[in-house]
Symmetry: C2
Subunit: 358 residues, 2 copies
């Protein structure tokens, strides 16, 4: 088990050693460790190796000049200068919050960035300011539009965080596909099939083979197939892609650069890097904050008291599982799988520091 503070310090140290400022390194570390705490380990410490390889391959700028290239009272465009996504992400969400404080809402589009970790981290930054926070990003193209076999979309997550009064906040943070890509890799390693409705083969037929992506297959959008509403999932994924790219001039859909160094950057890219989009809305730009938050308590209690289906024990509010994981992992420590710990040991050795594994 690893103490979260230790992982934060170690990760900050790694990114400083490769050239990041302390502030930038801490921004990267904060989001990766937050992912571990919230039980989204697919976006946690496993990424240190991937980010390190991106840097070694010259795909990331560790001394970026992240700057605002355009703004209005409620909007801005930020150029990340090829930074790690967290560097532009945290700064852009802070800017959205500042704009919301001044004009009611703030909306910031980002270009020329990279993988930014869990979207929920940024959306949740708004909560302490009594604001609703939103964050989306596009990602490696692995997902097909409905009725197509072209892998033109990412698993494009959307996060929305809403503050409450006495209840913990509502935090929805979800990919717009039935599952995250990491789950396919896990099933494949275990030699297991996956349920139909996650992936299709190279012709577009339903498949239960988690390795099908290496044979021209694709992941499907939420809904699974046309009959079950995958065209609505396609709408969602497409909207996230458009918001993440078109407002800032980042790459869209099939042109989004991969978040791993072993995959090539697409040719003829029409934009700059990966894109994100952030929003903050002051709740008292609409209603007195106490009134809004008391109503949100009512919403949360109503839905928490929904009657469970037969055989189920409880009905969750979006954000409940992650918050409960975080409480547990903060107290008991974070478990890393041996391969990840080994990766961290290897990187530490290359950088002349130490990773103290448990």
């Amino acid at each position: 088990m690893y103490d979260q503070k230790y992982l934060l310090e170690f990760t900050t140290d790694v990114f400083m050693r490769i050239g990041c400022s302390r502030e930038d390194a801490a921004a990267v570390a904060a989001v990766l460790v937050a992912a571990e705490l919230r039980n989204h380990s697919s976006h946690g410490m496993i990424r240190v190796r991937e980010y390190y390889e991106l840097w070694k391959n010259g795909r990331v700028n560790v001394t970026p000049d992240v700057r605002v290239v355009h703004e209005t009272p409620s909007t801005a465009v930020v150029d990340g200068d090829r930074c790690f996504g967290m560097v532009a992400g945290a700064r852009s969400m802070r800017l959205a919050i500042e704009k919301a404080a001044a004009t009611g809402t703030g909306w910031v589009a980002v270009r020329n960035s990279n993988h930014f970790g869990i979207a929920g981290y940024y959306a949740m930054m708004a909560l302490e300011h009594d604001m609703v926070g939103m964050a989306v990003t596009n990602a490696n193209p692995l997902v097909v539009p409905t009725l197509s076999v072209s892998r033109f979309l990412g698993t494009n997550p959307l996060a929305v965080a809403v503050p409450a009064m006495e209840e913990p906040p509502f935090v929805a943070d979800f990919a717009t596909t039935p599952i995250a890509r990491g789950k396919l890799a896990v099933s494949e390693k275990k030699g297991e099939k996956v349920p139909f409705g996650y992936v299709q083969d190279a012709e577009g037929n339903p498949s239960d083979d988690p390795g099908i992506l290496r044979n021209g297959g694709g992941m499907v959008t939420l809904g699974g197939d046309r009959l079950h509403g995958s065209h609505k999932g396609y709408c969602m994924t497409a909207v996230v892609d458009i918001f993440s790219s078109l407002f800032s001039g980042a790459n869209f859909g099939p042109f989004v650069p991969p978040s791993v160094a072993y995959l090539p950057v697409p040719e003829n890219q029409p934009g700059l890097g990966t894109g994100h989009f952030f929003g903050a809305m002051r709740i008292d730009a609409f209603r007195p904050a106490d009134e809004f938050k008391a109503s949100m308590d009512h919403w949360i209690r109503t839905f928490r008291n929904a009657q469970p289906a037969k055989g189920e024990e409880r009905v969750y509010i979006p954000g409940d599982p992650e918050r409960e994981a975080e409480e547990k992992f903060r107290n008991e420590g974070i478990t890393l799988v041996p391969a990840v710990a080994q990766d961290l040991k290897g990187i530490a050795a290359e950088l002349g520091i130490e990773f103290i594994s448990d």
Copy 2:
């Protein structure tokens, strides 16, 4: 076949006869006829009877004082004074557009409203102003949260319209459930089963019975079941519900009043009427408008040229099917099912006007 202009005139006349101003009646008619043109007849002329019955039962105010009750430079809250949803809807979307013109983006929350027709109509109002438009609403509770049997959510649609240059705009307009409720009614009338993944029974078991809602069953969220990501669909539906109610103080989830007079209004309502939420974002608040629109052309052409799955002829851009239907129906006329035409004849007779059926 009916000419759309005739349906507009007739419907405007109906709503003027029950007491609406010409402007308000025209707003209602415009959205209902737009639904017919866009092949969403479940939200079209069939609603004239339902709205008429709501009025007869005193559930709608035909002379409302629709007013802004709070505002900041980029936000506003509108009280619909129990109006037909289109009256508050069109006015609130215009206000969002005005605010976006001034500050980059505009966001308007609405309370004390009723069913507003197709969400896409409002989102599309932004297009001619070179803005991205968004509209959401909550609706009759018929949908269960994941792992629950409580019908706490509506089919809560989300619409997003994005302008392009030479290509027609991208218009996503979709319920956050696998299907619209109207499809269940159609299957039931035909005596057909529906695919598993649309509805569940009173205990939460999967069902293929389209009539199950009358026996305690519920509709499920996009994804269908937990294994296929229905918790992500639940997140979407919940976010739409929260945006539609909490910002304005409208009713949320199980308290949303039904859009038909034969169902009772829920007791202990915490808010006012049905709620909506509208947004407009000036594209040149981010990038020069021509640059944005040229990029959107590129996006649309890229996705339109995606390779179809085996046996499929084309890949659609969100908004393609509706736009093609509209072109056809504007030229060839709109078909109404006999029961709807009969309803319109009956209402016309009661109001001392005439409905000329084909």
